[in-house]
Symmetry: C2
Subunit: 501 residues, 2 copies
């Protein structure tokens, strides 16, 4: 039996080598690659991904899984072995269901739609992308058809991103959240806007990078197993549990970009660095789902990084790095500035409170598109109506509305958004559980110590990698199913205090 | 027929994708990778190289070559098609002769020998590596045995690095060169040593990098299809004709390191950037041989970069970059400093004139080892004797003698050295031919214009990639077989003037 398991692991490591190599090429493409390299790089990455897919869907892997499953009944559910079989079987079944012709068609359509979007967006021309989006919808429905038995077509996408969840559960959670958030946003909107001028005073790039790296180090990101580089669209990427990198983008005229972008990616990266070494080079060796991954970036970014106590420790360090900009600024002014709430048209510029409304709008619209309840032609109007009802704003044009995100124009519908809000909801539930277990955490943060919190996250989340689903992980770590209560309690408390509600 | 050719090209492009991906991973490993990434990186690169080998030795490639060769008799020798078949057939035949077990054994022995060397060298302990070197010799002879029909065992290695050459031709050339060089070195040695204090005045790294990039740009290195990064052991590497990168190492206390290291790698990189775009992603899309490649790095480094006329243009630029260090220095003093000749024990620190003596010593010793005319146990004594006769120096210990280079301790014997001197010899022959065709080149260099020279090299060497062998290329470009005359004429003229011989 251990022979078969070994053979399976060797095959999976080969797949991992190919995917990790593709990730290195992707990292280089977005950090250092000269413009001339683009064409060859596209070809090279496509070859690596194709070979990884071929190797993973080799029928020999199917046989090995079968033989091991028949024999492996005595492996405990929590064991690495049982989890490896469980997760590999799930991914294998999924991979073999998708014809490679279909993958190629999606890739080629995605490239065409992306190209069209890059000119349609500045030209404010929804009509130009409409037929492409209709094709995207058709392809998305075809994808869903490879996974029969779902209640509605978005379910296979949700399951893919956060295994075990579906439209019914996510939709119910989002409905509750929206009902609670809209009044909070309105209440905040009735108060005077916070002033964030102090964040816009001109912060030289090199000093921002140095501060960001110091902050990352103190939070617990291990630079001997990672590094930070500049890029245009920040991301974290993993080539091994021991090589997990972050990238950042800095704006010399708006400090939030670099500060919270860095903490966000550090959150993703510490999750990957914290996976147990025993899982290296297997399908278990990464964060378990889109939602849980986002919960880790958002926990560090928002619950830790946008807290007053965090800046009680770091604000003097930041002042020392930028004395001319910040020496006349109080901690309170700074804290209010970084937590300014203002309903806006653009998702990626939204604050912590309004952000989820942008996400849920998209989720509900793509769900409706996929169910056939909304036509692509009616999408702009539906978008604008929802912006009005949720955020009280009407987009002046589609550029500031339905055309703003790349997500619907470079692949399929259904997989891209809900994880952001699931992550926000989870982040507060995890943080509350950590604080219940270790009531000293807030004081430690105030003192610049993050080990207890990171230790709890490592023990309860990071080390498990993909062994447990998002739902299992939430219940194991917090003792209850996913709920919006801790998240709403966090927002109400924090913003109640900030805006005197 | 064009279907078969297309199928072959698709298969070769896949191999190229895998090798290029491995090259990206290697570049990252030597520039940015954090220490923690090493173990996974080794595994990933090994997987890519293994798959590239598997794909290239697929019997389908053999069949395609056979069918195409039967049908392709009407392709002209100079055509891309004929060259593609010729070179692919040669590489294919070679690749399928080497058992993959043997490759694995060499890799594992190489790692062991390298490890032993890293401790034996500082400990000055030749006895500790002797048995490993004996095993290296045995493996090298086994390698040679896969290529029956050679006159002596080093021939397959030479053929591999510079197809069409062998020990008899290289040995004869080297004997002539040595006979001419030793007296020149002695004559220079009888003169007062040039003073290179001006190179050791402390040159801050950032300004060195900026100057190096400006110089690279003016020489014609295309930064839109390349870039420069720092590393420990400088190299050039190619991921595509349109992504050819250089790396550099700087020494703030010795200017030569960065200056000439940069020009050297620029020479390699301009060769790869200059290959015709039609050859992209085929085996033809790289420099044709070790010797010709080195001829391009050395031509730019020495015949151009260490010439007085080059510095007539660049010395004022260098002075502007380092005014406090260089404003009191004359062009003449600087020119003498960068061309200081001094027999020394260490190859990698050797000057332009004595360098070849180090190389030929190694070539003759490995040739003798492989022929069975020298025992590993007698290697240190043979080394020291030859240092005495050629350079007039006796190594005080093996650390400064036979243990100094990594080459014999990380792979096989026979392939590593001769290309350096072949390249030097070729560089002068190419440069002389370019100058005959364009007598204005020296004046242009003096004026900071390198386009005519680079144009001639592109036309006669770069664009052909691997289409022609080193020998063919030399004869086509210069009208005569490889000869030491232009090289000795260059050295005698330059150093005769410098040292008043």
């Amino acid at each position: 039996m251990s022979d078969k398991l070994n053979e399976l692991k060797i095959r999976l490591a080969e797949v991992d080598d190919l995917s990790s190599a593709a990730a290195v090429l992707g990292w280089d493409q977005q950090t250092y690659m000269p413009a001339g390299g683009a064409e060859a790089r596209g070809r090279q990455m496509a070859t690596l991904q194709r070979l990884a897919h071929e190797k993973f869907t080799d029928e020999q892997i199917g046989y090995l899984l079968e033989e091991l499953q028949q024999a492996g009944a005595d492996w405990a559910y929590d064991s690495d072995e049982a989890a490896l079989l469980r997760v590999t079987q799930r991914q294998y079944t999924q991979a073999i269901r998708i014809p490679s012709d279909f993958v190629a068609e999606v890739a080629s359509h995605g490239a065409a739609a992306f190209n069209a979007w890059t000119t349609a967006r500045p030209a404010n021309d929804f009509a130009a992308v409409r037929p492409l989006l209709e094709k995207t919808l058709e392809l998305s429905l075809r994808y869903a058809s490879y996974f029969p038995g779902h209640a509605e077509p978005i379910d296979p996408f949700i399951d893919n991103a956060d295994h075990g969840m579906n439209a019914a559960t996510v939709g119910a959670l989002f409905d509750q959240l929206r009902a609670a958030l809209v009044p909070l946003v309105q209440a905040i909107g009735a108060q005077p806007l916070a002033d964030d001028e102090v964040l816009r005073r001109g912060y030289p790039e090199a000093a921002q990078i140095a501060f960001g790296e110091e902050m990352a180090r103190q939070l617990g990101y291990d630079f001997s197993r990672g590094r930070q580089d500049k890029t245009y669209h920040p991301f974290a990427t993993k080539f091994s549990i021991n090589d997990v990198r972050i990238t950042t983008r800095l704006d010399e005229h708006f400090l939030n970009e670099g500060l919270f972008g860095t903490i966000h990616e550090v959150g993703h990266a510490m999750y990957e660095q914290g996976v147990a070494q025993a899982l290296e080079a297997t399908p278990l060796a990464s964060g378990t789902s889109a939602g849980v991954h986002e919960s880790q970036s958002r926990l560090w970014e928002n619950l830790v990084g946008r807290s007053r106590r965090f800046w009680e420790h770091f604000f003097p360090v930041l002042q020392a790095a930028f004395p001319t900009q910040l020496n006349d600024v109080s901690l309170d002014t700074f804290y209010r500035a970084i937590n300014r709430v203002e309903p806006s048209l653009i998702r990626v510029e939204a604050d912590e409170v309004t952000y989820n409304l942008h996400v849920m709008l998209r989720f509900d619209l793509e769900r409706a598109l996929l169910k056939g309840e909304l036509a692509v032609a009616d999408l702009p109007a539906a978008w604008n109506g929802r912006m009005e009802s949720d955020l009280g704003l009407t987009p002046p044009d589609d550029r500031h509305g339905v055309l703003q995100d790349v997500h619907w124009f470079d692949g399929l519908l259904g997989g891209g958004f809900q994880g952001y809000t699931l992550g926000n909801v989870m982040s507060a539930q995890f943080f509350a559980a950590a604080q219940t277990a270790h009531p000293e955490i807030p004081d430690q943060i105030r003192g610049g110590s993050f080990d207890t919190l990171r230790g709890w996250l490592t023990e309860n989340i990071y080390r498990h990698g993909m062994k447990f689903t998002a739902r299992e992980l939430v219940e194991r770590a917090t003792g209850s199913p996913l709920t919006i209560e801790p998240y709403m309690a966090y927002l109400r408390h924090k913003y109640g205090e900030l805006y005197g509600l």
